[in-house]
Symmetry: C2
Subunit: 423 residues, 2 copies
Amino acid sequence: MFRRTRVHDFPRINPVRLLDDLKTLRSFGANGPGVVRLSLSPVDMEARRWLAGRMTDAGLDATIDGVGTVFGRSRKPGPALVIGSHTDTQPTGGWLDGALGVIYGLEIARALDECAATRDFAIDVASWIDEEGTFSSFLGSRSFVGDAIDASLQHARNRDGVLLGDALAQAGMANVPRVVLDRARQRAYLEPHIEQGGRLEASGKSIGVVTTIVGIREFQLCFTGQRNHAGTTPMSIRRDAGAALVAFIARVDAAFGRLADADTVWTVGRIDLDPGSFSVVPGKADMYLQFRDGKPERLHAMESALAALVDEWNVQHAVQVELMPCDGPEEPVVMDTTLQQHIAQAAEAVAPGQWIHMPSGASHDAQVIAHHIPACMLFVPSIGGVSHDSIEDTAEAHIVLGCEVAARAAAGIVEALRVRFDG
Amino acid sequence: MFRRTRVHDFPRINPVRLLDDLKTLRSFGANGPGVVRLSLSPVDMEARRWLAGRMTDAGLDATIDGVGTVFGRSRKPGPALVIGSHTDTQPTGGWLDGALGVIYGLEIARALDECAATRDFAIDVASWIDEEGTFSSFLGSRSFVGDAIDASLQHARNRDGVLLGDALAQAGMANVPRVVLDRARQRAYLEPHIEQGGRLEASGKSIGVVTTIVGIREFQLCFTGQRNHAGTTPMSIRRDAGAALVAFIARVDAAFGRLADADTVWTVGRIDLDPGSFSVVPGKADMYLQFRDGKPERLHAMESALAALVDEWNVQHAVQVELMPCDGPEEPVVMDTTLQQHIAQAAEAVAPGQWIHMPSGASHDAQVIAHHIPACMLFVPSIGGVSHDSIEDTAEAHIVLGCEVAARAAAGIVEALRVRFDG
């Protein structure tokens, strides 16, 4: 358990150094206020080489591994806490999504090294490749924990059709070894991240202690009716696939509304009517439905409700609907409760009353790593709840506060690991 | 008025010649069972030259005019009935949409010429260019009646970006004169056409006497909400433009349902959610709404209801909607009632009880010409109500029957015109 050390022995982060590194990283792929730094692109590789250099400056043994992950291994003996996130971005991304957690890790490694009480604490720092899925989501963290990535290496392509394997070869990593989890040494994982939502801001809090990364289900629903002339086909004999889709959404909303709690979300993100013109009654219509929740049993109930709606619809209507799962389901991942306590105690010490427990509605590398070692996440507020957009931002005061809390939590976590390790 | 002539004096069409000509025309641009014959394309021009040749064979003075309309002028003195339609097709069109009416005109000109009682009757035959709007809808009929087409000639482009003026020059028609309506001679217009809908088939009838070509309104409705992460944004604080659009459609359906009669139609043909992905709450959503009715007062009531729904919505909701008219409104066009009677009497004589009065839900050249001379339309059934599709078809028995009715109607119309002319 976390043992309180004396106040003057706490590691102190350097806010100027932290912000300078974040802003330098922002310059690689800067695009207005945002950043375009797609995995393995030339500018992404430039940023990775810069990051490896900063890790080396911090006294870490830095490497860019065989999939592109930048890993800074502490020279100190274990047990080690891994702090990481990602430095690749969305096609038009913001400057903090991922970058924040990586630079926090770098700053925390430096800060602990500069503090007498924590000088021997091992902090390994990671920037996992391709969290955003330019080629294959969570490629770096999946590779690190030993998940099978051969299919990704052979078949994954980016939007331009470039194969992942070719992109890695192009970036000079064809025969570079991959960093893999050393379970004897690396005993816990911390991923600081921007919230990417508006809960902290709405509640006036500064720190989120993540309880769960929610599970996700994605379905395509394809409606098949009869394409017809929009002028000559009376309403009474139409089989309008688009009208069916719209009516079906109302049923989904009603059914999910009955099952949901305040954290449940569902989204129709895309609708395609075929052929998609003023004068043609749509013969086909597709919708893309995603829902997320932190409780596996609620996700299953929602899946069952959706399947029942489809069956019911097809009995009642001439326009038929087919339900097709997209991607594998992502199950909710609970964050390690002991690590959550470390973050909560650090937050309460640094910013009393200014933190909350909350789920992560977004996916993160932590959900991959949590299946192998205890993992936790810390959130800082996103201004306006905006993310995956060039205007994504966080107040500098929150950036600094979040790193202070994370540093204190990291110290506590490693201290507890060392007690257990030695014990 | 129509005076009944003796039975043996009726013009008799030649079914084999009629079907042969239709099938030969089908061979220009044949594409499976359908036809691809876009206005002014090489194959369209080939078909036009063939058609002009068939008109010449029929004793008509045939010309391809300065916009591409094929016009076969009878050498007989007026008054003349113009029978026409179009031989251009949709990008993937059927074989009868337009072609039927043009070949009916050709066959009727021949049949009347071969009948002692109608030998002196003048039938002019037209294939108006570009009814389907490859460059500019109804170009040929608009040019014929003297509507301004200069803007079309200068600015209209096809999907490949080719200017209409360039396409005409390319087809050798840069300095060819245009055929224009001779009001002293051309006193009525008949356009036979496939129904392009399923009413005749559903009612078991063979001939439709068109009462009105319905009016059309087209609107784009743009919903503006807040784009957000679909995982991290609670339902309670979302401003989902797509969800707003779906809810709005239900209101439109309810409001239009209260105003509609059995012939009123409305269609949401296209929906775009932005950015259109599983994981993003749509920040913008567009829908394209068209409605059609034969009564101007109902179209106005629907427009008013739609505007009221928009105002009401914007007061009630954070997601705002903007209503934007697309293209000019098309007002309903009533077919000449005397000409309708001629068709009805001919139908009753040839196929007693096998005809109905009905509106045309689709647009036709007749709506352009009806503003200048009395115009009427006759429909034959479309199998399965299908049109604007390669499988568009009509039973041969219906093709032949429709031409018999049209020929008898044409004889009656010209006879009546001649009585008035002489009188």
